[in-house]
Structures are given as structure tokens and as C-alpha cells.
Symmetry: C2
Subunit: 480 residues, 2 copies
């Protein structure tokens, strides 16, 4: 395919994409296929001679579309949103064309520099404390990670390295292995599984901190475990707080937890993967109070800020902490300030080596929406969740299971877990809407998250009508 | 921006992309900017009200392009290639539109299933042993990782987990920390820095194995170290072989190393990041002989197989090995065969949770080029490297520093390292071509890699003319 053909096919693809998104509502949101469906629809080997482009595009509809869960359907309410917007897609086309691999400044200076400045822009939108920004002389700064899981892992590894060095400075005879075996990381029992996984990868112990009745960790809960662990000779070194947990969008009390972590020399990382986007609205910003105590903060613009996956924003207070944990250089050559200079090599900030020019899509989205447009998006979706909450509250057969703070509603039929499992099965089978469950205090709970940019009030009403209809049928069945 | 405006702007962007790539040769390949250049060119904060799209596109030329290292210029010979092709870009547009996050089968069955089948297609093109393929009942299978660094890390973590379990089975009293402190991983002294980094992340010791005069590891070299380490009470558990090293594209002797690793119960991972693509050509396939002894194999189609970054292909012989190392489930619930069923949840195969629909671009590229088209691309670029080698060999002032097997030529001026450093400085400053150095046996060496799809023989000739002209000037200066 040469440039001339790309001009033609590319324009067709633009229309194809617009058609897909404009008519997405007509498709069942959840696919009706069995595991292994695809293999029998295509050849067992790649062709030796080229296929025609027309055949490929026919196969997109024949082979791929039947197996797609349509995340951008207005009837998709599962997991958390995956952001999508036209400006981000345009930027990604440009990113593909430039096709640089920005592992170091020299590998494409614009790729590194736009990222640093975009993370400063975004940090200012969130009113992050100055110390997290790169500015022109700062010790902190931001980076785009692929996912929140990677941000958590990177922060845990940086904390591990810092803790080992600190303990060895006090007691040089202690081996790294000995220290490693005593390090303990902590997180909420409601935290995302990727947090526990980070500890598994980093070969450190991780303990789950119990939560209060609103599924949030409070300072006193962490303090109690820390005292026990220190008395047992363990070395607490890391706490991952969650702002907006996956099950119920609960918020750990970072304003209490932060001073405790600082006092105990523990790294505090904040995972605000979903909720972080909302902090650009002044009415939600108080939930981020206490971030000043954190060593690192992360959220996913690719969830709720209209920037297509992947784009996970992470800031650290001291970039030397993060670089020092990964840089392939002997320790005795390191200086506290060598990284506060002008050149940033982002390969030292992340797990992979290569990286795409992802800040382009931030730049396009921030400029095409403006802060006001982004705030309007957040507020609209929170409003829709509140509407859904009202509908649920008005029906006495149902209950709301956690405070509705942002775009997530946790609800269930009053009754057994089995009853609610049956309801979810009916919903999934109907393929009219799609949502996933969670477990809260031993209860099986349905989660309805406002996901698609195209979800409007009528979709919320239809979803509720559909759910109550299925619940009615279910309760009739149970009655007989 | 609504769908109608996207149709218009998208088509403009398609032309913009085609224009950029058609005229890329007119731009200096390496940018003329100082660190920090970008910050002063744009506002310090995001706009509150939207900017116009025209202004953004003007800024792409004003702000971004001056700071781009043009990886797809025919005059770019640095690092290794970053793949790029029009079919891959079209597929990525579709991927952005679908915008699913394929962490589990249910999150979008087509995303998971096409990936599994594409990795089988690609495995067959490479003539990988059947045991690496998923087939319909296999125990092995492939996955797309973001980068080779992640594939290495995943394999090392799987090996670590397997080794700890094996040792504990023999001696249940041994603590995990104790075992961890005795585990040793090995790789070539010529291996990529990401291999050493994987060991750092995984908190295990890593030793560098010396290479022969062609920069390759041989069986006897590894064997010698293993004997010493075992005698010292250490537990060898992992060897990362390289096929096509970054400095000189050297090939470790896997047919000797593999049986040794098998015998010692060590995991052998093969990192063929760059060279792997060439194994689809029968004339290069013998270099992969011995892969049958490996536990995992990885290469980057996003380097040399026309599939835009990121797309790193990894296969494992036993998927339970890799899943078992990450899955958040207690060990006593695991069964050897539970993962050989029909449903694959790729989140257990990788470091991040989220993942894009990357197999679409494999599908488009494999079908639009066909195996023959892909082979032709490899052969053309190897041919260009051989042409360059001939030019160098014909000039007695220069020497070739390593065998030219694929698309990389290592060469230098006969003389001091300082002389060659000066030559590279002149080349970089001229901005007509771009290449990076390496170190081989203490010598400062220039690396010329055939990178861009648009590089033709005339570019090779021009590059050589340019290099010899600068060398002439340099030698004149030194003479006076």
C-alpha cells in the first residue's frame, strides 16, 4: 500500500470509524459468541500472497464485530469507563505517523518535552502542590505510564529501593535479602488487585488494611497494624492509598494517612485511577486534600478524561527517587541533583523501554475541550449517576449499597446473593445493557458505571426500566 | 468535536500523515533544538475555553516538528528500526475506535481470540515448534507484550516463581526469602540493559556471561560459571539468550545453551527483539535452531515486521508457568490444566492490566503484505546493509567490526576511539544522517542500521559519501 492508496483507504476508514460510533447503539452491547468462536472463521495460516483490502474490511464485520464488547455503546455500564474522543483519535493518527520511540530525550526531544509540559498542565488543573510539577527547576514531575498497574509497580519499586538504602545506611552489615524479607507494604482491602500484584512482582510482603463502613481506610486502622508489625521487627515502607476504589468508589482518608506515612518514613502512593479526573472540578477537589503528604500520585486520563487508552498520568515529588530505582548505573556515581537538570530520559521512569508519543493526545484533548469542556464531561456523567441513584432509591425492592459520589452506582435487590446473581445473569444474557458485579461486606452487588461519552438520560431510564422488568420476572419466578 | 467534524478533520489528517511521510526526506533527520526548547513555545496552562483546531495543527508544525527525530526518514540509521506501514496505521485507527480494554476474554472476546490466532499464524511463519502454539488444545501459546523489556521481565518472574516452588517442594522449611537470595539469573555481557533491569525489579542476582570473539555466548562459557555458582551454594534458575544483540547483532549459541539449561532446570528465555522478524526467511531460520529447548521466546514485530509500535510477540511453552506467577489466586486452588481450556485471560500474562486491540494491526499487515511481502522487506533491508558493508570494506581507512548478518553494520575508522567519537560528533551535527555508537571489545564503534521502509540504495550511497567526506575533513584536521 503506497501513500496514494493510504489517502483513499484512510479516508474510508475515517468514515468507517465515524459510522461505527454514530450507530453503535444499534449493536448488542455484549457479544453472543462462545469461547473459541473466531478460530474457525479465519484461515489457519497467514496468506503467502497479499489479500485484498476489501476482503479485510468485510472480515472486520464478519469476524471481529460479532465478538466485540462495545465499550463505547451508551448501554455499556461495566467496569469503569475507557475514554474516547475524536480529538484523541486524531492525535493518535499523528502519533502513528511520527512513530518515534521516545525512550530518551535525544530519541525525539518533542516527545519528551511535550509530555513534561502536559503533565504540568494537568497537574495545575488538579491543583497539585507545586512540588509535583517539573516547572523549569523542580525536583518533581510527571510521566505518562501505560496503566495504573505500572504506576503502582514503579512507585513500589522506588520505595523498596529507598527503604533498602536507608536501612543499609544505618546498619551496613544487613544484607539486601535480609532487609527485603522484613519490608512490608500496605493497602486497603478494597484496593485493586494490581496493588497486591505489584508486591508479588517486587517480592515484598503486602498486608491489607481493613476499611470502615464506607469502605475507606482511616489513619487509626493503618496505625494499629504498623505498631504490631514494628513490634514484630518488620519494616513498614509503603502504603498505597486509593481514591475511588474499584468496587464502590470509596475514598481513603489521605489527610490522616499521609502524616502517618511521613512520620513512619513510608512512601505514600495514591491510586486515583478512575476518580482522579474529577479533581479538575472544584467541588470534587477536597477529596484530594492530603496529596501534599504523598510521594507519588497517579490517575488515568484514559478512563474519564476523554483521552483514549493508554494514558496513565503519574507524578512524583522527587524524580531522583524513581530514577534511582531503575537506572543502570552504580550507586556511587549518583548525585542527588543530577536529574533535576533540563534533560529527562523517561526510560528511567518506567518498566518498558520504548514509548509512544502519547502526550500528543493530551495536548489535542486539553485544547479542543478546554478545562471547561472537560469539567462539563465529568459533571454530566456524575449527574447521570445521581439520576440513576434516584431511580433505584424510589423502588423499595432495591437498595443503594455505597455512597454515590461520582459516576458509579452500587445497588442490589434486597434479598439473597443468589437472587442478585440471577438478576445479573438475566441482564448479561439480554445483551441490552452490560454491567459487572462487585462484593461489598459479603454481599453480591451490581455496579452501574456511567461509561460512554454518548450515554444520555434516556439510556439511564431505559437501563433502569430494563433492570426492573427483569427483576419483576425474576421475583415472579421465585414466587412460584 | 462531533462525528461530522471528525469526518472532515480525520480526512485532513490522513492527507497530513501521507504528506509528512512522502516528504520526510526534506526534513533534517535530527532536530536542532536545545533541552527545554518546547516549554517557552506554548502557554504555561491548559486553556479554559477550547482552542481552534486550525491553531493546533499550526502548532504541530511550529512546536512539535522542530523537535522531532524523524525515525522514518530514509536517512535515519540509529538504534534499530521502528516499524511503520500504512496497513498498520489503518488498523490502529480501527483499534482506537473500538477502544476496548481487552484484559479478559469477556471484556472483548474478539480482542483476545484474534491475538491468540495471530500469534499462531506468526509462530507458523517462524516455524516455531508446535509446543509454542495455542492451537485448539495446546499448553503453549502467544501473547502481545508492549515491549521486549516486559517480555523479559515476565519470563524472569515466571521462572522465579517456578524455581521457588521447586526448591520448597524439596525442602519445605526453606523460606522464600532464603531461596530468593540464592537464585541467580544469567545473560550475555552483550545483552540489552533491560535484561539486567528485569533482575533488578525481580530482586534476584544476575551474572553476565562472557562472549566469544564474535560477541556470542557459547555453552561452555555458561557451564563454567554454573559449576562455580552451584559449588558456592547458589541456585541458577534463568538464562536469557540473545539472538541479535543490540551492539552488533550477535547470536548466542542456543543449540548448545538450550540442552544445558534444560539439564540444569533453568528457564531459557530467548530475546530476539530485532532479529526475530528475519526468521520468516528460510535462509535465516537456522539461527533459531535450538528454540525447541527454550521456555519462552520473544521478538518485536514492531521493529522489523512493518507493524507500528507497540507489538512485541512472546510465546511460552507452558502457559500455566506464566499465569501461575501472576494470578491472584491461592496456590492450593491451582490445577496444572485449568488454563489449557478455551478461555484465555491475557491480564494474567502481562504486567499491565489494560491492553489495546493490537492484534488488529498484525492481521492487517499479514494480510496486506502476505508472507512473501514481509520476506521481501527483510531481504531488501539485509541487502542494503550488505551494500553498505561493501562500501566500507572498499575503503582502507575503515574497518568492519562484526559480521554483517542482518540489517546492521558496525564499522569504524582505523585509529583511536577519540577519532571515531569526533567522526560521530560531526555526523550528528550535520543532521544529514543519524546513527548511534556502540562499544565492542573496548572500541568505540559506529552502528549503521537500516531502519526506514523508505531507505533505498541511493540513501546508502549518499550516507557513505557523507561519512567519508566528514572523515576526510577530520583526518585533514588531525594531520595539520
Amino acid at each position: 500500500m503506497d501513500a496514494a492508496e493510504f489517502r483513499r483507504r484512510g479516508k474510508e476508514m475515517v468514515d468507517h470509524v465515524a459510522d461505527y460510533l454514530e450507530k453503535i447503539e444499534e449493536r448488542p452491547v455484549y457479544p453472543d459468541v462462545e469461547p473459541g468462536y473466531l478460530r474457525s472463521l479465519i484461515p489457519t495460516e497467514a496468506p503467502v500472497e497479499p489479500d485484498s483490502y476489501e476482503d479485510i474490511m468485510k472480515d472486520v464485520e464478519r469476524v471481529i464485530m460479532p465478538g466485540i464488547t462495545h465499550w463505547h455503546s451508551p448501554n455499556f455500564f461495566a467496569y469503569f469507563p475507557a475514554a474516547s474522543s475524536y480529538p484523541a483519535m486524531l492525535a493518535d493518527m499523528l502519533c502513528s505517523a511520527i512513530g518515534c520511540i521516545g525512550f530518551s530525550w535525544a530519541a525525539s526531544p518533542a516527545c519528551t518535552e511535550l509530555e513534561t509540559v502536559m503533565l504540568d498542565w494537568l497537574g495545575k488543573m488538579l491543583q497539585l502542590p507545586e512540588c509535583f510539577l517539573a516547572g523549569t527547576h523542580g525536583h518533581g514531575g510527571g510521566v505518562i505510564q501505560g496503566t495504573a498497574s505500572e504506576a503502582t509497580l514503579v512507585s513500589l519499586l522506588a520505595a523498596r529501593c529507598k527503604a533498602i538504602r536507608r536501612v543499609q545506611l544505618l546498619d551496613p552489615k544487613k544484607s539486601e535479602a535480609e532487609i527485603l524479607s522484613k519490608l512490608v507494604a500496605y493497602t486497603s482491602e478494597q484496593a485493586h488487585s494490581s496493588v497486591e500484584r505489584a508486591a508479588l512482582i517486587g517480592a515484598v510482603m503486602m498486608k491489607k488494611v481493613p476499611t470502615d463502613s464506607l469502605y475507606a481506610v482511616r489513619g487509626e486502622m493503618l496505625k494499629k497494624i504498623l505498631e504490631e508489625d514494628k513490634a514484630a521487627g518488620l519494616i513498614p515502607f509503603y502504603f498505597c492509598a486509593t481514591l475511588g476504589t474499584t468496587p464502590s468508589c470509596a475514598f481513603d482518608h489521605i489527610a490522616d494517612l499521609g502524616p502517618l506515612c511521613n512520620q513512619e518514613n513510608m512512601w505514600m502512593h495514591i491510586d486515583a485511577a478512575y476518580a482522579g479526573s474529577a479533581f479538575i472540578c472544584p467541588e470534587f477537589r477536597p477529596l484530594l486534600n492530603g496529596v501534599e503528604y504523598a510521594d507519588s500520585f497517579n490517575f488515568n486520563p484514559h478512563k474519564w478524561m476523554l483521552i483514549n487508552f493508554d494514558c496513565s498520568a503519574m507524578w512524583v515529588k522527587k524524580r531522583t527517587d524513581i530514577i534511582g530505582a531503575f537506572k543502570m548505573e552504580p550507586l556511587y556515581l549518583k548525585h542527588e541533583n543530577q536529574e533535576s537538570g533540563l534533560v529527562t530520559d523517561y526510560r528511567h521512569w518506567q518498566i518498558p523501554l520504548g514509548r509512544r508519543f502519547r502526550s500528543l493526545k493530551m495536548w489535542f484533548v486539553f485544547r479542543m475541550y478546554g478545562l471547561q469542556g472537560l469539567q462539563a464531561h465529568i459533571r454530566k456523567q456524575v449527574g447521570l449517576a445521581k439520576e440513576f441513584e434516584s431511580l433505584v432509591r424510589a423502588d423499595k425492592r432495591f437498595e443503594i449499597c455505597a455512597p454515590v459520589v461520582m459516576g458509579l452506582v452500587c445497588f442490589r435487590l434486597k434479598g439473597t446473593n443468589e437472587l442478585n446473581q440471577s438478576l445479573l445473569k438475566k441482564i448479561t444474557k439480554s445483551r441490552e445493557i452490560h454491567l459487572v458485579p462487585c462484593q461489598l461486606s459479603g454481599s453480591f452487588v451490581l455496579r452501574l458505571a456511567i461509561c460512554s461519552r454518548s450515554t444520555e438520560f434516556r439510556h439511564i431510564q431505559q437501563a433502569w426500566q430494563h433492570i426492573t422488568q427483569l427483576a419483576f420476572e425474576l421475583l415472579q419466578e421465585h414466587h412460584h
